[in-house]
Symmetry: C2
Subunit: 154 residues, 2 copies
DNA sequence: AGAAACTTTATAGTAGCTTTAAGGTCAAGC
DNA sequence: GCTTGACCTTAAAGCTACTATAAAGTTTCT
């Protein structure tokens, strides 16, 4: 049977660092597991499935708070799932908004880039001048769209 | 003349918190300014312009490292600006990649959402089941697109 | 003179981990 | 029996780009 795992087994199987598993436990997303005599964590099928659920949610870029919310709903199987829908709809809304912001940003960046097609000295560089004089993003600016994700440049 | 500012003046004019200005100084993006007798920071036109440059870059969602790089290039006016172009092109690439990832993510989320159009109990909810069994984002997954930006939900 | 409004530094908190340190456990090999 | 190495343990610091708080000093207004 393969339904008893130590933390490293679980980590390898689900391709997640062991520290992250401990972190999820610390954050209350995973329950405190049983321990061996030597104080090693022991996980079963239920925990493996719960962690899979969490990882899928993270792959969909939900926050730990959103995931906590879904896990609570999952833990009460009798409830209606209208609330599940609303968590997901809210998240879809976040993503849509983010895409909109990034598209705006991309337009601005390409506009800026077009100011220096012919290389000159940086003193006269249209890009550097553009960055120094560009209208301030007082309102309607890019407003921190979050381009630089951890795994984005792999 | 309005070319001598204390930190609060500068902050108000450029709509940035004073702490952020000190932080940029701490991070070496702004030089250590002159001080009054009472040890207050004093800024002139050059610093104001430099801060404006930084804020525009941030509005375009560049990292402080990218900005540091551009500032260095800006500080050596005789250099060619091919490198400016390449910093900007790299950043445009980051944004494009992020948009692509988020579009993928949006597709997955909508697919998931479609599993529960008719509300049932959460035990049978297609969404929760989907999240538990969805193919793991082993490769080609959403890979942390960063949806939840600081100012995104304002 | 005294209060309000500004400034100073230092420190901690945010999200979601990753990294490091300093050590304990366990199976295999000599 | 003892060591080596792979695994595990906890706690704490580091990452980005700030934001918030505390405790104190300075300047300005009345």
């Amino acid at each position: 049977m393969t339904n008893r795992y130590r933390i490293g087994d679980l980590a390898t199987r689900l391709a997640v660092p062991t520290q992250t598993i401990r972190y999820y436990e610390h954050e209350g997303l995973l329950p405190k597991p049983a321990r061996t005599e030597g104080n090693y964590r022991v996980y079963g099928i239920a925990e493996r499935e719960r962690l899979t659920f969490i990882l899928h949610c993270r792959a969909l870029d939900m926050t730990l708070d959103e995931i906590r919310h879904l896990l609570r709903l999952r833990d009460v199987p009798g409830q209606g799932c209208a609330e599940v829908n609303s968590v997901l709809d809210a998240h879809i809304g976040h993503v849509a908004e983010r895409i909109r912001l990034l598209n705006d940003l991309q337009l601005q960046l390409k506009d800026l880039r077009a100011r220096c097609e012919s290389p000159s000295t940086s003193k006269d560089c249209g890009i550097l001048q553009g960055l120094a004089s560009f209208p301030t993003a007082q309102d309607g600016g890019a407003s921190r769209a979050g381009v630089h994700g951890r795994r984005a440049q792999e």
